[in-house]
């Protein structure tokens, strides 16, 4: 190299250095005194730009393989028959006609199913994913109305469906609890969530409530909700020798593989679960009976099985959100300051699962108060195990709390936003921890200005156009920042300068694979088209649950850890002939396809150059994310300020939402395009919860009577107005990328904002969801 070339390169290096995206390594944990992720400061990368889903073209072309689209040689199709009593025994089951029907390969019942272990119920260990602590088709017991009692395998789906309609079962019914009144009479029990009691008592809330000059005290009710992802649950399952392959639609590949392995007495590595695309998760796409039944039937038949739940099947086999009855009582002084905050009540559950809808979670950190009494108790019913559904706890909890605050604002004759801001806490009111990042007041102010909140009349029922009464309401939404332990990332950096980032995470349509590619590209200093992402496969190291809105943070932390390992490995490979020679990992950063010294970017070498000189095709590192210590040091939450305008028909009570705005405070937004869809989708789901969603659970026999989208109403296009979404975009200094998850926050608070708007329109306060027209008719 001539001296001229060297000078030229130096000059170019300086210029590039000045413009560079040089990013130091991120901290490996967030603790007091630590530093924020340097990517937060980096303003010229991919993060924060709207990137269309990288898998969009694949999906539009129909080329993205979903769980029910894996063709396997010799595959047969499954159909399920369901029990029609809530509790008892199968006295007899006649499968002769089904077995004789055309195309049928076999009929499996408890009489001939392979012997299997009971799956470990979710929550009983870090890798347990079972739906309930119940054996699956191992005996004649019936535990809920709708439990699968037989699997038909046939050469086509139509043959299987027909044959299953020929199965006749008779039952010996046993006493059951299928009404809420009966369940309550048996006595509530303390709720435990993730092993922790759902109970907070600070000060003497009862006494302070009694003594408060202003108070509200009401009971709010929320019904059962069922999962209705656009893709019904499905799995394509094959035994290959002693190994089991499950092409599934799931939110937890790793835990599912482990749990299924235990069911069949296999080692974890003998079960591979893939889930490349999921047509909507929302907490419902986990391990339920159908995957295990499909695997058992495949074993019995010696052929691969495709099991696709019908829409009715989803209601019979996949649990939903359970019902709640919540008391919220708030005592306040004349200024509106909360003296007592009481949020207690019950959620229905089964004797066999671990999911007490934790509706007080959002209340714990929501508002300052002198005293608190918060608790969730459970009552037990004979029903399908209830489960997670978008923002479990907060969705229904915010309906009660944020309705009550609106009622208190009326009682105090105060603006409801001002009342909320007055009770803004300076630290977490129940844990005492400092907030990592809380800018809800900014969200309130910017949202109110944009929505035109000052046009609202405080007096209900005073705005009218023809038959239509017009009202505005607001509410706060809230959801915590989570990051669960166990995440890992594997990075394969190739000599052509391309990086493959693999994580055991899940793409349920929200854009995770796209955002992961963006984050990894910025972290590694590569353009987007030089990064590909592998995910949704249990053979990838680490455990990442797509739940609790924690996936983005978990992936972010895992990529940070793997990036550390990659830089160390590259510096080793670079050796003494590199301009990087002698530098430690914390002295360099990634930029423009290589590494450079932080305070002297002219000392750089590209990844390609390092690998070429080391004569390596690729370098592979795999690393586990740091422990989520940030959660021990800070109270970490996302928030939203929600604004709703409704039109309520004075003749019929029909409610139409005419405008909606969400102002979100969710850390730094990584991909505005996909985040906006997440927020909007959550709000749409919240509108359904507010106005129409309700599982019709027949309390006489525990049977769900509306297992179809014709009778279980979710919003149609005409029910959804234009939804305006804005955000603070203030990074949380204590999280990877400064980001919070955005999957669940969108639905929280929405039902209260709608209910409060209906009150403002009509003067009618409805405290039980959904707010159907009969409850509003004036």
């Amino acid at each position: 190299m001539s001296i001229v070339d060297t000078l030229k390169e130096t000059a170019q290096g300086l210029v590039q250095g000045a413009m560079s995206k040089l990013v130091p390594l991120a901290p490996d944990s967030w603790i007091p005194g630590g530093v924020p992720d340097p990517l937060i400061r980096q303003q010229h990368g991919l993060i924060g730009t709207s990137v269309s889903r990288l898998d969009g073209p694949l999906k539009v072309r129909g080329a993205a393989p979903f769980a029910a689209e894996f063709p396997l040689e010799g595959m047969v199709y499954a159909a399920l028959a369901y029990a029609t009593i809530p509790r008892g025994r199968i006295a007899a089951i006649d499968t002769a006609a089904a077995e004789a029907a055309p195309g049928v390969v076999l009929v499996m019942t408890h009489l001939n199913a392979p012997r299997m272990n009971t799956p470990a119920v979710f929550g009983s260990s870090p890798t347990a994913a079972g739906p309930a602590d119940l054996p699956i088709m191992q005996d004649d017991r019936v535990h809920w109305n709708g439990q699968p009692i037989a699997v038909v395998l046939a050469e086509t789906q139509e043959h299987a469906d027909h044959a299953k309609s020929l199965i006749v079962a008779t039952y010996a019914a046993e006493p059951s609890t299928t009404s809420l009144a009966a369940a309550k009479a048996e006595g509530p029990q303390p709720g435990l969530f993730m092993g922790q009691p759902l109970l907070n008592e600070i000060g003497d809330a009862d006494a302070m409530l009694a003594a408060a000059p202003h108070k509200v005290d009401h009971v709010y009710r929320t019904p059962r909700h069922n999962h209705n992802a656009i893709e019904p649950h499905a799995a394509t399952i094959a035994w290959v020798g002693d190994e089991l392959i499950v092409h599934d639609a799931t939110q937890l590949v790793t835990a599912e593989a482990q749990t299924i392995a235990d069911v069949f007495d296999l080692k974890a590595e003998q079960v591979r679960v893939t889930s490349p695309f999921v047509g909507g998760g929302f907490g419902g796409k986990c391990l339920w009976d159908h995957q295990i039944l499909g695997a058992a039937a495949a074993k019995l038949a010696g052929r691969p099985v495709r099991i696709t739940l019908t829409r009715e099947g989803v209601y019979r086999v996949v649990g939903g959100r359970t019902l709640t009855e919540q008391r919220v009582a708030i005592g306040a002084d004349a200024d509106g300051r909360f003296k007592a905050l009481v949020h207690t009540g019950i959620a229905a559950m089964t004797p066999h699962n671990n999911m007490p809808e934790p509706f007080i979670l959002g209340t714990r950190g929501g508002y300052a108060a002198d005293s608190f009494k918060l608790s969730v108790e459970t009552v037990k019913m004979n029903m399908l195990a209830n489960t997670f559904m978008r923002a479990p706890g907060e969705s229904v909890g915010t309906f009660a709390l944020e309705s009550a605050i609106d009622e208190l604002a009326v009682e105090l004759d105060m603006d409801p936003i001002a009342l909320r801001i007055r009770n803004e806490p300076d630290k977490d009111p129940t844990s005492g921890l400092p907030f990592s990042s809380r800018h809800i007041v900014e969200a309130w102010r910017s949202g109110a200005a944009r929505f035109g909140w000052d046009e609202r009349s405080a007096e209900p029922g005073t705005r009218r156009e023809g038959e239509w009464l017009i009202g505005m309401g607001c509410a706060t939404g809230t959801y915590p920042y989570y990051r669960m332990p166990g995440a890992a990332a594997r990075i394969t950096l190739r000599r052509d300068g391309h990086a493959l980032v693999e994580i055991a995470a899940h793409e349920m349509g929200m854009g995770t694979s796209t955002t992961t590619a963006m984050v990894a590209a910025d972290r590694l200093g590569l353009p987007l088209d030089r990064v590909s992402v592998g995910y949704g496969d249990s053979i990838i190291p680490g455990t990442i649950l797509a739940g609790g809105s924690q996936q983005t943070a978990a992936i972010g932390a895992a990529v940070i850890a793997a990036h550390h390992a990659l830089v160390a490995e590259l510096l080793k490979l670079a050796g003494n002939d590199s301009r990087l020679a002698g530098l430690a990992p914390d002295e360099v950063g990634s930029e423009d396809g290589g590494l450079a010294k932080l305070d002297d970017p002219t000392r750089r070498e590209s990844y390609v150059s390092i690998l070429e000189r080391a004569q390596r095709e690729s370098v592979v590192v795999s690393e586990e994310a740091s422990q989520p210590l940030e959660l021990m040091h800070w109270s970490m939450h996302s928030h939203s300020a929600l604004f709703c305008e409704v039109r309520v028909n004075a003749v019929t009570g029909e409610t139409r939402v005419s405008r909606f705005l969400g102002a979100f405070d969710c850390g730094r937004i990584l991909n505005p395009k996909t985040a906006r869809s997440q927020f909007r989708g959550g709000i749409v789901m919240g509108l359904g919860m507010a106005l129409m969603e309700e599982t019709q659970f027949d309390e006489r026999n525990g049977r769900i009577m509306n297992p179809s989208l014709a009778e279980y109403h979710v919003p149609v296009h005409l029910d959804v107005p234009e939804i305006d979404v804005i955000w603070t975009d203030i990074a949380d200094p204590h999280t990877p990328m400064g980001a919070h998850g955005v999957g669940e926050i969108g639905i929280t608070g929405v039902a209260a904002a709608v209910a409060n708007a209906i009150y403002n329109a009509t003067g009618k306060r409805v405290r039980d969801l959904p707010i159907t027209l009969d409850k509003v008719m004036i």
Binding site: A81, Y82, T84, N145, E158, D161, H162, S165, E467, V651, T652, G653, E654, R656, L691, M692, Q696, D698, R700, N701, R703, M705, N706, S708, A710, E711, H713, P715, V716, H717, L718, D719, T772, L773, D774, M777
Partner: protein, 328 residues
């Protein structure tokens, strides 16, 4: 789904011949029947596709319209003569289902829709006298938000789901039928039955009898008609209550009126009592209210649907108010 044979009829005579097979069913657009087959509520052994029958809408000599049974719902709703002379019919059709379903559904098939009672659909887990005569009714003490408040029986509380039929009931339509005994006509309001002891029969059709056309008689004041549907979401839901009405006012007096109600009974409910109260009387809100009260006098609520009595009254008053404003 139970296996069946499929044949396409060339014309009405062909359809009739094919339709005499036992457990044969005529297939229009299939928007309800195919669902019923898939859910094993209906188990026909043979499907006779009658979409090849007349799909014409023609002027009659008397100044009305003759609508072929195979006319698609969308085509009927869009037809200029229907939109201008019988707007209630166009609006009723457009209030139902979705654009895709209306494109498929035929007029004949719309008449013969079956109830959406969820207990009727639950073949495995629920008793239903309509599906299995004599087995009992699990709906009466169950979820009854969508169920009848008028004309129900202890055997059945189901409602007829059609919007279009409510308009046809108001318009004095005539059903043209072809059966073993030849052709006959029937006033539309006599086509559907109340459940009584035999809810398994939705209509008075003879086995194998075929709907060939619907005739709309001339009704000049039907140009002042409308349809209002009240439901749990803005679109794609069955009516909790619906009103089809046509109103003629002269000098502040109701000269003539037609009213039919949907979502309240086992059949499209012609509100004859309300009409009688109104006819010849003043076109005032008070009179509209009195008419509504008269029609609802015999209404019987179930556990979940008591609100429909007041909802029907209010909606009827509002509809008549709108029509009287439009007529004035």
């Amino acid at each position: 789904m139970t296996p069946f044979t499929y044949a396409r009829a060339e014309d009405a005579a062909d359809a009739l011949r094919l339709g005499q097979a036992s457990a044969a069913a005529y297939l229009g657009g299939g928007t309800n029947l195919v669902d019923l087959i898939r859910e094993t509520v209906a188990k026909p052994s043979a499907l006779i596709d009658v979409t090849g029958l007349s799909s014409e809408i023609e002027e009659t000599e008397g100044g009305g319209l003759m609508i072929g049974a195979a006319v698609r719902n969308t085509a009927l709703a869009e037809h200029l003569a229907v939109r201008t002379r019988y707007p209630v019919l166009s609006r009723a059709i457009l209030a139902g289902a979705s654009a895709q379903i209306r494109n498929m559904a035929t007029v004949g098939g719309n008449l013969l829709q079956r109830t959406r009672c969820t207990y009727f659909y639950d073949t495995d887990g629920s008793r239903c006298n309509k599906r299995a005569p004599g087995s009992g009714c699990d709906a009466i003490e169950g979820f009854t938000r969508g169920h009848a408040i008028l004309g129900a029986s202890s055997a059945c509380v189901a409602t007829h789901p059609s919007d279009m039929c409510v308009a046809l009931a108001a318009l004095d339509a005539i059903v043209h039928l072809h059966g073993r005994g030849g052709a006959r006509t029937l006033p539309f309001t006599e086509l559907h039955r109340l459940p009584g002891d035999h809810p398994e029969f939705d209509t008075v059709l003879e086995p194998g009898e075929l709907v060939t056309a619907i005739e709309l008689p001339p009704m000049n004041f039907a140009a002042n008609s409308t349809y209002r549907k009240v439901r749990d979401r803005a679109s794609y839901a069955f009516a909790l209550v619906s009103i089809a009405a046509a109103l003629e006012i002269e000098g502040g007096v109701v000269k003539d009126v037609r009213i039919a109600l949907g979502g309240v009974a086992h059949k499209p409910w012609r509100a004859s009592k309300a009409e009688a109260v109104l006819r010849g009387g003043p076109a005032t809100e008070q009179a509209f209210r009195a008419a509504a009260v008269a029609e609802m006098a015999d209404a019987q609520p179930l556990r979940d649907n008591g609100f429909k009595i007041e909802l029907t009254k209010r909606t009827l008053v509002a509809v008549l108010g709108d029509l009287s404003g439009a007529a004035a």
